[in-house]
Symmetry: C2
């Protein structure tokens, strides 16, 4: 409340007179500070698998379990990405690659923000997944292969996409007319073709517990 304010000090944080003990003296809040405040570290849980393999269902169920444990967590999937950030992209090879690139970059932002981010995309190509992995430090990228067999996924065909792909109405459909490159050494392989959802959630939680991301599995 002095009569004339001092010259603004943007770019540094020098303050005037006695008012040095101010609440906002840290200009940057880093990931370690966020982990300290929230009580858990962040990570990217990258679910990959065929259409119908249960990626989104499992990611959302794990997310709900983490939320109920009080963790900051968020799911990126087709619903909130393909109609938003990536709505300018189609399904050509170049567009699929760019789609996964952007999802990797956004995941990195959530990681930095202290959030456990769960991505649920087919992400069929190893090179694309590896590029996403390379954006962050080792241990921050947890690849989870939802390993239901093609026959199981096609029988489920929850969205009717396999029927359309078989009829030639959808071109370059993963598993039918475009390859799925299964992860060779994912952090976690979940048998979503034979296990119940409950079993699969439990398997992921046990892994996250072992990694110290959650305090206990139950």
């Amino acid at each position: 409340m002095s009569a004339s304010p001092a010259k603004p000090t943007y770019g540094d944080l020098t303050t005037q007179g006695a008012s040095t003990n101010i609440a906002w003296h840290h200009t940057s809040v880093d990931r370690a500070a966020r982990a300290g405040q929230r009580g858990h570290r962040s990570a990217i849980l990258w679910f990959t698998g065929l259409s119908g393999s249960g990626k989104s269902t499992l990611a959302n169920a794990v997310n709900a379990a983490l939320f109920e444990k009080g963790l900051a967590c968020y799911v990126l999937d087709g619903d909130n990405i393909r109609h938003g950030l990536c709505k300018d992209l189609g399904f050509s090879d170049a567009d699929r690659e760019e789609n996964i690139r952007r999802i990797g970059e956004v995941s990195k932002l959530f990681l930095d923000a202290g959030v456990v981010v769960l991505t649920a995309f087919v992400s069929p190509f190893k090179a694309d997944r590896d590029r996403a992995r390379a954006l962050v430090d080792g241990g921050d990228f947890i690849e989870i292969h939802c390993a239901a067999d093609l026959a199981v996924c096609e029988e489920r065909d929850t969205k009717g996409l396999y029927a359309k792909a078989r009829a030639g109405e959808i071109k370059e459909f993963t598993g039918i007319s475009s390859p799925y490159e299964a992860p060779e050494a994912p952090e976690l392989r979940v048998d979503t073709g034979n296990q119940t959802l409950e079993q699969s959630v439990e398997q992921v939680l046990v892994y996250l517990s072992a990694q110290g991301i959650i305090a206990q599995a139950n």
Copy 2:
């Protein structure tokens, strides 16, 4: 632990036997649930202004203040966007528009994740800012004009960009060779050319308090 698991129930959450009271029975965690858990609603604080107007400094200082109050918050700025998500974009009109579009979409994701997200980009064009605003509900987008005069910004020239723009080394530099369309009715106009950083932070916090995003201004 039954001998043969029941048919997987992916896509719905029916469980077996008595184990219905399980922790992950909610498949989707929505924004309201996140706000309830964290004790605050989320918002997009969209800082706009000339290069050197103090956007990033103010956004980071506000972010630090929010963090110290226990809010989930995160800054998007050139440091984490231009070298990541938008590294494929240049400074043509189309690329600038796409840059702001992506930042708007990513902000919407953070909003949905329950995080107060602070964006610090020149964002000189009204149409681009209005498109970002239109992605979310009224009240969720808080436009904050860092209204330092061009003369002040150019005198500061913290990054030496104005000198280069005047020398013709940078083309289409906002304020020099490309227009800055000042917001006509931003939620908040901050006189970052004449106020101290402390005063500007306080002004933003008072506004967020009035909006019920933080409980009190100090």
